[in-house]
Symmetry: C2
Subunit: 482 residues, 2 copies
């Protein structure tokens, strides 16, 4: 036996994996596996037979084929930043985690075709940078972009702050390379604006949260890079004006609105109270706030007559039409960052006020004011003193409907009512034609709610798709649909 | 028997259909069925057991259930304007045509949510008008819009001239209502910008050409209505400049380019020669032409400093950078229409020059110049004197690669070489990572070529999906994939 050959273990299956990808790429000790077994919110602590890190599509295919042959279930994992438990194994310990961390090459970047072909393990921020270096924009942007991976945002169909103008991750995916559950490779890396040669198979995998196969690479859309951005914070005296302001802003700007985020007074208050460097830039207090951002790729958009002037005119017209009561327009990059800090710190600020019960829901945009009024009434009736903090991507109909505990209540006693609050909110969402999983997915934590609320025909269609593509049920079993 | 009850026929199955939808909605005579059995190019003359026109989703579901119970294959049909034979029954006559013509209600139009929910039989132009009446835009626009139906453009994932800015039909579909092959109804009419509650089932049906079920209604995206449009025709001395001009125009206009269509000198010549009202507006002749259109929804975009000035500045910079050699900017709606007439008459003009062998292909945009050079060389080597007329939506990578016969050749002898030419062109397209079915679909005429050129893994995935959703193979059998 050569010194490079690892000593055989008692486990022939693990030996097989080591033979395929080398010993350094098969993690089996508790210390090495630990970061792959927990998730950001600390809701789950899983176990696994091994964490495997293939370095190429061929290695990934060989590993999947070996797991398939042995009947071992697999959990695809990217940057492990998902918030619904879809990215970690269960507690039983029989699963293998397939980490895409080493599939991290940018294979191609074509600024004329406006596409990038990258492997699943490329970190989102690295893709953004590679695009920017070629004078292009990759528009998916979200809090975890410094560590989440391309494969993960595809599996989750990630949203974020650029959806209003550019769409979700799904809308950026032109082609995929996927290792199918039996180890065959689908080479579907199209980079075409139009392709009607058969079914749109890529859309099965986008948003499937690793339940149908392992995405190893993708061809994604790029856009001309914006050269200028203008940002403003508006105060509104009436929630109903939020949707009218959105319509006004989209039309007035020639649909150049790249962000439209709303926040309640309570959110501004606790953010300014707890988060360093956050301050309310408006003189008076208003019940509702909207952060608007315009962007343009047009040369000269940063100069006079550009997006800043557009935004100023848009706000002036909105004031005149009584759609907003006050507004502040950022006059520097620092001021822009300060306005965004208010919005981006809002989730963390809630932690300082005690327990927070969270919902990631979406509604038709036109129903958001009615939804918030109705849900606020229902949850405060169930628990007087509860402090709702609904905020988020209202331009996409996406509300992070978070509920801060009553002041002074015991935190554990409050969090014990999580399921009860979820049911109240999800029932209203469902009645109002919304979705209980807007941008964070179903994963593990919403499987039962989905089963409770989705029509039986649709659940059966999902199961049909799952059985067809993964007949042995080996890819991320127990997630999304059971 | 009451006078309203039709006399029973010898065919219990047809009696059952009549009982479900009434006698006026079950066509069985050759005269009544005739328009539903041929297609626009006259390539196929099918037969059918009946043409059925349900007036509601419930009726449609009952008809499908009856066909399913009797094992009768079904062919969904909208406006019957498709160009690949997917919308007509085969010659054997055992199929039932499911016409959506009477499912023609606009159920809902929400200008705040920017969505319309319409039934499958609504004519595209009627949807465009309904959207415009609400100060919105439905952006799918194509030659057949006066007669094609919403269900048809969804089944075909239709392209057209607005794709560069707004995407294909697929990108407009937020939700669907579908009668599944066994008669169950999937109520999937979401109208949400974000929804990750399970698999994206709607994308299975979009572009499936009626092979997986009958779409009865859809919720579609709307956009703020453009208030101004500017159009120009440019002359270029080099095909390589087309893609550089596209990149220039997208960046310079802040991505406001809504059309970018290219044409060869030969196409301009025959269009001006044969089509009434068509004239070349440029002084000199150029080997290549590009029609550019900018649109904006911004109030004031029609005035000074608006899209016309943007386009003028864009063209000035393009002239200076030697991306174009000459340009004419339309100064009136009449002049805009005249420039579009050149592009839109190009297909018809080819008919006056004899036989035309057609290809609807797409390539990565950056490869279009190389593709045209290579394909032109290959087809003229195979048949000297052949006159290529490649034109189309180059902004989407979509080339209508049409080949006009050599002058003086016998037309029938030329058209007899259709398959040979297809093979030459499709082989090059495939080698260059393109698609042989860009916006017209596979239907009946490209099934064999798809089987020849697509990877076996992908064909098998398509068959898996087909078998899973239509296990009895009753929906449009023999189309797309066999």
């Amino acid at each position: 036996m050569s010194p490079d050959t690892p000593a055989p273990t008692a486990d022939a299956f693990l030996d097989r994996l080591v033979a395929l990808v080398g010993p350094a790429a098969v993690l089996t000790t508790p210390e090495a596996m630990a970061p792959h077994l927990t998730e950001p919110r600390g809701l789950f602590q899983g176990r696994a037979r091994a964490v495997v890190k293939p370095a190429s599509t061929e290695e990934a295919a060989a590993v999947v084929a070996a797991c398939h042959a042995a009947g071992v279930p697999m959990v695809p994992q990217g940057g492990n930043t998902g918030l619904v438990g879809g990215n970690v194994p269960f507690e039983h310990g029989r699963e293998v985690v397939l980490s895409t961390a080493r599939l991290n090459r940018v294979r191609d970047l074509d600024p004329v075709n406006l596409t990038a072909t990258v492997e699943a393990g490329v970190v989102l921020a690295d893709l953004q940078r590679a695009a920017a270096d070629a004078d292009c924009l990759f528009p998916v942007s979200l809090a975890a972009e410094g560590s989440c991976q391309v494969g993960g945002i595809i599996a989750a169909n990630a949203g974020g702050t650029g959806v209003l103008r550019y769409g979700n991750t799904r809308d950026q995916v032109l082609g995929l390379e996927v290792v199918l559950p039996d180890g065959r490779v689908w080479h579907g890396l199209r980079r075409l604006g139009k392709d009607n040669a058969g079914y749109a198979l890529r859309h099965l995998f986008v948003g499937s949260e690793g339940t149908l196969g392992l995405v190893t690479a993708a061809t994604l859309r790029l856009y001309p890079k914006p050269v200028a951005t203008a940002t403003a914070l508006c105060g509104l005296d009436d929630l109903d004006k939020v949707t009218a302001l959105l319509r006004h802003a989209r039309a007035w700007s020639g649909d150049a609105v790249t962000a439209f985020e709303f926040m309640p007074r309570f959110g501004i208050e606790i953010t300014c109270r707890h988060m360093p460097g956050c301050a309310d830039p408006l003189e008076a207090a208003w019940p509702w706030y909207v952060l608007i951002e315009l962007s343009s790729a047009r040369p000269g958009a940063g100069a006079e007559g550009g997006v800043r002037d557009d935004l100023e005119a848009l706000l002036g017209a909105a004031l005149e039409a009584d759609l907003i009561q006050d507004a502040v327009l950022a006059e520097s990059l620092d001021q822009q960052a300060a306005l965004w800090r208010l919005r981006e710190s809002m989730s963390e600020a809630q932690g300082f006020e005690g327990g927070s019960i969270k919902h990631d829901v979406s509604l038709p945009v036109s129903r958001i004011p009615a939804f918030i009024a109705r849900a606020n009434a229902a949850v405060t009736a169930a628990l007087p003193g509860l402090r709702p903090c609904p905020f988020g991507h209202v331009g996409d109909g996406n509300v992070h409907y978070n509920l801060t505990q009553p002041a002074g209540m015991d935190k554990a006693a409050y969090l014990a009512r999580w399921d009860e609050m979820n049911r109240i909110v999800h029932d209203i969402v469902t009645e109002m034609d919304g979705s209980i999983a807007a941008e964070h997915g179903v994963g593990r934590i919403k499987v039962a709610e989905l089963e409770r609320l989705k029509a039986p025909v649709e659940l059966e269609m999902m199961r049909t798709v799952k059985r067809a593509l993964d007949p042995d049920g080996l890819f991320n079993p127990g997630k999304v649909v059971v």
